[in-house]
């Protein structure tokens, strides 16, 4: 099918539907518009969460009080966690790029349930609104950390119910997205697109969808129990009434560990697309990439106890969870080897998305190895609750999903907007981001190893040097984020017009105009070639 330039057919931006003006966006059931609604919401909350993070680093640049008091600092790290986890990284790639590209990449004209898709965005907005409300009403913002551990979460005076309800609603939004994606992938693939001809980004969304469906309800019910504790004193997690706080942790992490796979699997899918396209080569070991994505989703369901090694679990539980944690690392490693093998003897096009992909592999591996260290019982005793953990999960989550999000944003920018971004500013932004990122988070490994606790407002003077370095990194990173985001927005107006297939990609989105027409495909595509059919 020949690539069209998009001048003949109106794009989805110009489509005239039932509604006008802003309503044409907030009442639209077009998956592409919904993807963009999510994009703007998520970028807004990402910048909010990043700003709070920067304020935290400014506070930590010296021992003692620097800019805020201890209670405010506790509220900061709580809000930072709630926003980044529930409002940015979990919806992140699926809600933005999944919504926009899943139907297109499987040759469909929308998702299975477009109205439920729009409902999931409204639930997202409701959820974040509740979280914002929790900051300004009641007896003060929540200060429990995003993990809402019992019994503090039902004893604190902080405004827990709106925050916990917000998280509940955000979880429901996630469930609806997963439901839609699973059904779409099962039922709406184009003729000829068998399961083994589906590209890896849709596959990653499929695995993610099952995790969203099967894990999220557990935190839903757990948060309802927390509300029942606060309001009814029901006693499930209250030791004075016979409850076990460790059971709260079990329930919380039974969701929140699979949740990190919700965050990382779509990221890995996007990275596979970027690496394949910019290496002009089929992904190495395509069936193993599929098997590993499904294996990560499956095994990842059973490792939650590694967040609880120092909580008081039995010895049997300790070594079972440690063993399973090591096992779940294996499929991730397979993916890394396959990405590198894809690049080997490929025709590498050193575009911005590719830089993000290579950076992803580097930081994801650091995050992954540090995860194995934390998964070792003896090491964990010393490292639990320290800055080492902070470094681990920022490398693997911000490094992983964050890098993939920005990579995907640049990779698919021409398709979504019909423009090219400015490459010089994009690469400069990446450089600042990368340097800032490494400077911000690397010292945390050392600080944690030396014993600096996390979620502490103050620290001993021996940690001062590492904190100065880390906080300077935060400022450089923040500048990099600013450059990247501003460049993407300015290029909307000033960027050169993009062709349908600027990178020479082989997946279906590159066969339609940039930006796509309202119905995606002017003729129903029929798939007769293998996936990633580079010669």
């Amino acid at each position: 099918m020949s690539s069209q330039n998009g001048t003949e057919h109106p794009s989805f931006y110009d489509h005239r539907g039932k509604y006008k003006g802003i309503f044409a966006w907030i009442l639209s059931t077009d998956h592409k518009r919904i993807g963009l609604l999510y994009f703007y919401s998520i970028i807004l909350f990402f910048l909010t969460g990043a700003t709070i993070g920067l304020l935290m680093k400014l506070e930590l640049i010296a021992p003692g009080k620097t800019i805020v008091d201890a209670q405010t600092y506790n509220a900061f790290f709580t809000l930072h966690g709630i926003i980044m986890i529930f409002a940015v990284v979990i919806p992140g790639l699926p809600a933005v790029f999944g919504n926009f590209f899943l139907p297109i990449m499987i040759g469909a004209n929308d998702v299975a349930f477009p109205r439920i898709n729009l409902l999931s965005w409204y639930m997202y907005v409701t959820g974040v609104t509740l979280v914002v409300i929790s900051q300004f009403t009641g007896q003060g913002p929540p200060d429990t950390g995003w993990t809402f551990y019992a019994p503090y979460s039902f004893r604190t005076a902080g405004n827990m119910i709106p925050a916990v309800s917000g998280a509940f609603v955000l979880g429901f939004s996630s469930v609806l997205t997963g439901l839609n994606f699973i059904t779409t992938i099962h039922r709406m693939r184009a003729p000829g697109m068998t399961w083994m001809k589906m590209p890896l980004f849709p596959w990653s969304l499929y695995a993610t969808g099952w995790v969203q469906i099967l894990a999220t309800p557990i935190i839903g019910i757990t948060l309802l129990m927390v509300i029942a504790e606060r309001v009814l004193h029901i006693g499930f997690f209250d030791p004075s009434l016979g409850g076990d706080p460790i059971l709260y942790q079990h329930l919380f992490w039974t969701y929140s560990h699979p949740a990190v796979y919700i965050m990382i699997l779509p990221a890995m899918g996007a990275i596979s697309e970027i690496i394949s396209t910019h290496s002009h080569k089929a992904i190495f070991g395509y069936p193993f990439m599929i098997a590993s994505v499904m294996a990560i989703a499956f095994v990842g369901y059973f490792v939650w106890g590694h967040h609880m090694f120092t909580s008081g679990m039995s010895g049997t539980a300790l070594y079972t969870f440690s063993l399973l944690t090591f096992i779940v690392a294996i499929p991730s490693a397979i993916k890394v080897f396959n990405w590198i093998s894809t690049m080997y003897k490929g025709s590498i096009d050193l575009q911005t998305p590719f830089l993000w992909a290579v950076g992803f592999i580097f930081v994801f591996m650091i995050g992954g190895f540090s995860g194995l260290i934390l998964g070792s019982l003896a090491a964990n005793v010393h490292l639990h609750g320290t800055h080492f953990v902070l470094a681990h999960f920022h490398f693997i989550l911000f490094g992983g999903t964050g890098f993939a999000f920005f990579g995907a944003a640049h990779y698919w920018y021409p398709k979504i907007t019909g423009r090219m971004y400015d490459k010089v500013w994009a690469n400069l932004g990446y450089l600042l981001f990368f340097i800032g990122f490494i400077t911000l988070y690397s010292p945390m490994f050392y600080l944690g190893y030396k014993g600096m606790p996390r979620r502490y407002y103050d620290y001993d003077e021996i940690f001062h040097g590492g904190n100065i370095l880390s906080s300077m990194g935060a400022m450089v990173l923040y500048a990099g984020i600013a450059v990247i985001v501003i460049n993407l927005f300015i290029s909307l107006r000033r960027g050169a017009k993009a062709p349908a297939n600027p990178w020479g990609g082989k997946t279906l989105e590159w066969s339609i105009p940039s930006p796509p027409p309202h119905e995606n495909f002017l003729e129903q595509p029929v798939i007769d070639k293998e996936v990633y059919d580079y010669k």
Binding site: L214, Y301, A317, T320
Partner: protein, 112 residues
Amino acid sequence: MDISLPAFLSDHLKRIILMEKEQENITPYKTFIIVLAVLIGLTLTSVALTRIYLGAITAVAALVIAAVKSSFVLRIFMHLKTDKRMFSVLVIAVALLISTVITITFLDYLYR
């Protein structure tokens, strides 16, 4: 069919074939009544079992009966028996998942 029919005729034929296939799959009223009787019988049996002191086995017996009742509801009332096999596979997978999570959680509570 290797004769090419006019479009409206072949659509009509497809419609008849589809409707006939679907008529085969309508569960008769009698089946539901019989299954209901079985379910009520199992319910009353499980109540009667609590009268007899079975010790620790009481819990297991009650849950086994509940599982049997569920399989009737799933297979007959919810049509898993006549639907595509994928649905049954998924239901079993979800049941296994919940039991596995409970089992792993018990690795903590049993051995503290």
